[in-house]
């Protein structure tokens, strides 16, 4: 058993209620965060982990209020630093199951550097990035995922910054598990959460989330029933990349390294692009796609194995102890050159 699996002691049978804390939920009525909270509380019992071994760590933002509402251990920390705090916690206590909850501002603006490093280190954490393309808690400034030209309080004639794509960024950082889901799709969220939680290493999920107060329907292209049917591309390992309404199925295929949308019926089945979660290259090309010119990939873009940071650290420790025994401070103090005065 690797140190990071140590937490898997037998868990009691829980219900959703067991994961609801006694705190008033303080989001705006209608906020997408409610759905995510509910999905998570619902998913938790299925993870089979004793409640006391679960910890939620967050930064600051509307999304980062999350830990208060989960009846597990929780730490609402400071803006952008949740991945670093979680790394320290994980190194101290590799048997805990740790979730990091962050926002597009918390995780990609002030916290971008920690995100980069936690991803490359592949610390065993599940990171939920609530992307509402806006700063909610500070009342509506544009965020690093807001579209270029976004008009907000801080950009009355439009923003001048090209947005960052969380998935492309994560992949550029060497992430080993990257997925996307949508706050309005509870079963899919549930599935992604389980997949990410089971991943060995950093499981990174972008959750498209609605801020109905400051950026309502920013993701309408995937909320609106009609548009969703047109654009949602469900990624499923081993399945071809097909999307669109039944009467107008389209296929995403490759022209060289350039994705192209064609009518499904126009291409032979053998040339369809089969989704392969273990192909990081494919994930990188998928990550950049979005409506209207392309479908919106939803699901697991990539899931690959790689060394896990704290596993290596703990292995080094165990090796040192098993080879030379546990440390003895008295011996340490008298090691090397000493001399006696009497």
């Amino acid at each position: 058993m690797s140190p990071s699996e140590a937490g898997a002691k037998e868990a009691p049978k829980y219900t959703k209620k067991d994961f609801e804390s006694d705190q008033d939920v303080r989001w705006c009525p209608g906020c997408g965060d409610y759905a995510i909270l509910s999905a998570l509380q619902k998913t938790m019992p299925d993870l089979g982990i004793p409640k006391e071994n679960i910890v939620f760590i967050s930064g600051i933002g509307c999304s980062s209020r999350f830990p208060y509402y989960m009846n597990t251990y929780g730490f609402h920390t400071i803006h952008g630093r949740a991945p670093a705090i979680a790394t320290g916690l994980r190194v101290a206590r590799p048997e805990l199951k740790i979730f990091v909850v962050t926002g597009d501002g918390d995780g990609l603006s002030i916290g971008g550097n920690h995100m980069l490093h936690v991803l490359r280190r592949n610390v065993n954490l599940t990171i939920l990035l609530f992307n509402n393309r806006i700063y909610g808690l500070t009342k509506g400034q544009y965020s690093p995922t807001s579209e270029l030209g976004k008009v907000t309080k801080s950009t009355p004639v439009g923003s001048a910054d090209r947005p960052v794509n969380p998935l492309s960024f994560a992949l550029g950082c060497g992430a080993t598990f990257v997925a996307r889901t949508v706050d309005r799709n509870i079963p899919h969220m549930d599935e992604m959460l389980k997949r990410a939680a089971a991943h060995k290493g950093t499981g990174f999920i972008e959750i498209l989330q609605n801020c109905n107060v400051y950026n309502d329907l920013a993701w309408n292209v995937i909320y609106d029933r009609e548009s969703k049917v047109q654009h949602e591309l469900r990624l499923e390992h081993g399945k071809p990349l097909l999307f669109g309404p039944p009467d107008d199925r389209r296929a995403l295929i490759m022209r060289g390294v350039t994705p192209k949308v064609v009518r499904a019926k126009d291409v032979p089945e053998s040339t369809l692009w089969i989704h392969d979660e273990t192909n990081v290259n494919a994930a990188k090309l998928l990550a950049d796609l979005f409506a209207p010119d392309f479908p919106i990939p939803v699901g697991v873009l990539t899931a690959v194995e790689a060394p896990v940071y704290e596993d290596l650290i703990l292995q080094q420790e165990q090796k040192a102890i098993s080879e030379r025994g546990p440390g003895d401070i008295a011996k340490l103090l008298t090691s090397g050159d000493t001399w006696k005065i009497s």
Partner: protein, 623 residues
């Protein structure tokens, strides 16, 4: 030939007893001066002397040969009596090249011993050092100092000419010639160095042989050459009996942390981002995985401190360290630990600033930052070690207090303590105060901010404890329950409670020990790495019959409970610091005493001579 002070003939060499001596080895960064100094230190320790050292090297990794900014030096003072500092002015200077002479000569006492490596004084090197003419040709040099021009390079090559090494390799051993020579002059035992060479170069016999021969050649040169009229013995100092080792401040901090983690039976998680002069603590800790020391080289200082906080939240000993700019970056994180009321130890190895400043130079100008460098009222415990060896005890104490009071503890070491070393009496670890961690496991009546009545500490709960699931955070919280609260009176109460908790740490502080009369004309108050300089200066003044005492603060926040009383027992109070006057402001504000500062911010330890002068000046007399 000792050319002025001792116009020796070929007569038998006399051995003169000295109380103490201050030696500096100076040369190019590539000349191995740090190693030479360290070996000389070990020899002196073996000889039973008390001692203190001051390594001093450039910020550049390998500064170009021969330049002034590339000079590296190592100074030590050793003696048959208590040695408090590496010394102010030099009894002996070894200058391996013109740049070293240029930079360091001014510190040599008139009549002091000056040993130079003549072949290094060639046109190229003289140019680089900015000498228009060869200073060795200037007769005043030999008039003012006991100048010895030695062809170290030549003698070195001669000693090992038959060994299969190339010229560069041979050249590199010449520092052992200098070491051998100076060892002879001060009657140091060569054994420890010979031992060291054997171990260090076990895999390279030729280099081992070369260094051995050159060391002995230097020694023999002193003995046989006609030029050294006398040499010196420094008797063993009277030191507490026991087993000793040389200890630098950074290693002592690392070991103190390890000892505390062991005693508390917890893993130590150390988050750090490399920075001079704190990096060596990381390097040292990374060696000790058997002690469940887990080092995280973080992406930056913010990640380092927050990772440590995460570890503390998890029930481990969370520690971080940095210097100057890095500590500034940790301010926000430390504030989180204050309000989350988690134990956290932050080591600040102060260096000369502001901003990047002079990274390899020492300073003690981060006291105010330690006390106040966070937004809002965010009090923390502040400790400072007095000597390299004391770093061990301070690190241990920092962990103990942090865990007992659930509070961040900041430790202010500095570049001088970090790299300086002293003979250190190895303690019996079982005699250290116990660190008893009692994680809360009892569900009944649990609240995350329920407080211990003696310490006001809230319970430390390890995630993983069934039934105690709870949430904490950086928003203001209701006392006891820990729930988010914006209630005005609760906020006032929490601000006062966090302050009171830190104030209660005063009950841990032993009575302040006074070096000198309990009442008198002048009290000198110090903190941190200036302990040695101040003590030396005060003892000098006492010897001169002045009514002067000194105290040294290891606890800067809270201050010792007896401090106000002590301060009022003296007519005047002097506070020497390597800053523009920080502790002195604290004392004035706290006790309304008209304390005055003595402040020099030169990136160097305070010379005890200057403190002595300041004492005399304040007493209204000339020395």
């Amino acid at each position: 030939m000792g050319q002025i002070a001792t116009p020796a003939t070929g007569a038998e060499k006399s051995r003169k007893a000295l109380d103490r001596a201050v030696i500096r080895f100076a040369g190019d960064s590539g000349d191995g001066m740090q190693l030479t100094g360290e070996q000389f230190t070990t020899e002196s320790a073996w000889a039973g002397n008390d001692l203190a050292t001051l390594p001093n090297f450039p910020a550049e990794i390998r500064a170009p040969a021969g330049t002034l900014f590339g000079v590296s030096s190592f100074q030590l003072q050793f003696g048959s009596q208590r040695v408090y500092t590496p010394g102010d002015r030099l009894d002996c200077l070894v200058a391996m090249n013109p740049a070293a002479l240029k930079v360091h000569l001014r510190d040599l006492k008139t009549g002091g011993l000056l040993i130079v490596n003549t072949p290094a004084f060639d046109k190229r090197n003289l140019d680089k050092a900015g000498y228009a003419t060869n200073p060795l040709d200037d007769p005043t040099l030999a008039e003012r100092y006991r100048l010895h021009k030695v062809d170290m390079t030549g003698l070195t090559h001669e000693a090992i000419k038959d060994l299969p090494l190339n010229t560069k390799e041979k050249d590199r051993t010449k520092n052992f010639f200098a070491l051998g020579l100076v060892s002879w002059i001060y009657t140091r035992p060569l054994e420890p160095t010979l031992d060291w060479i054997k171990k260090r170069f076990a895999k390279n016999k030729d280099i081992a042989e070369a260094n051995t021969r050159v060391l002995k050649a230097g020694h023999a040169f002193g003995e046989t050459a006609e030029i050294f009229g006398e040499h010196y013995a420094v008797e063993p100092a009277e030191m507490a009996p026991g087993l000793y080792r040389a200890m630098t401040g950074n290693r002592a901090l690392a070991w103190g942390l390890i000892a505390a983690a062991q005693r508390s039976k917890l893993p130590l998680v150390y988050g750090a981002y490399p920075i001079t002069p704190a990096s060596d603590i990381l390097h040292e800790l990374a060696l000790h995985k058997r002690f469940r020391v887990r080092t995280i080289q973080a992406e930056d200082e913010i990640a380092a401190v927050t990772a440590a906080i995460g570890a503390s939240f998890g029930g481990a000993i969370g520690v971080t360290a940095s210097s100057g700019p890095g500590i500034a970056l940790k301010s926000e994180g430390i504030g989180l630990a204050v309000t989350a009321e988690l134990p956290l130890v932050v080591l600040n190895i102060q260096r000369a600033g502001p901003s990047t400043g002079m990274p390899t130079k020492t300073e003690q100008a981060d006291l105010m930052q330690a006390l106040y460098g966070r937004n809002s009222e965010a009090p923390v415990v502040v400790l400072a070690p007095a000597t390299p060896g004391d770093c061990f005890y301070i690190a241990y104490e920092a962990v103990r207090l942090a865990a007992k009071y659930m509070v961040p503890v900041l430790v202010l070491s500095d570049g001088f303590l970090a790299n300086g070393s002293e003979p250190w009496l190895i303690p019996d670890v079982t005699t250290l105060p116990p660190i008893e961690i009692q994680f809360r496991t009892e569900r009944e009546g649990f609240f995350p901010y329920l407080r211990d009545s003696a310490t006001l500490a809230r319970p430390w709960v390890r995630p993983g404890t069934p039934g105690l699931e709870h949430r904490i955070g950086g928003i203001e919280k209701q006392d006891v329950t820990g729930n988010i609260s914006y209630d005005p009176d609760n906020h006032d109460h929490m601000v006062r409670t966090r302050a009171e908790k830190v104030r209660r740490v005063a009950q841990e502080i032993p009575p302040t020990s006074i070096n000198g009369p309990a009442t008198g004309d002048l009290l000198v108050v110090g903190w941190g790495g200036t302990y040695g300089s101040i003590t030396a200066a005060v003892e000098q003044a006492q010897t001169a019959g002045k009514s002067v005492a000194s105290i040294h603060l290891r606890h800067l926040n809270p201050l010792p409970p007896d401090l106000g009383h002590i301060l009022r027992e003296y007519r005047k109070v002097l506070v020497p610091e390597i800053n523009s006057g920080q502790l002195v402001r604290v004392l004035r504000a706290e006790y309304l005493v008209d304390a005055v500062g003595f402040n020099r911010v030169r990136g160097l330890p305070l010379p005890s001579e200057e403190i002595y002068e300041a004492i005399n000046q304040l007493l209204g007399s000339t020395p």
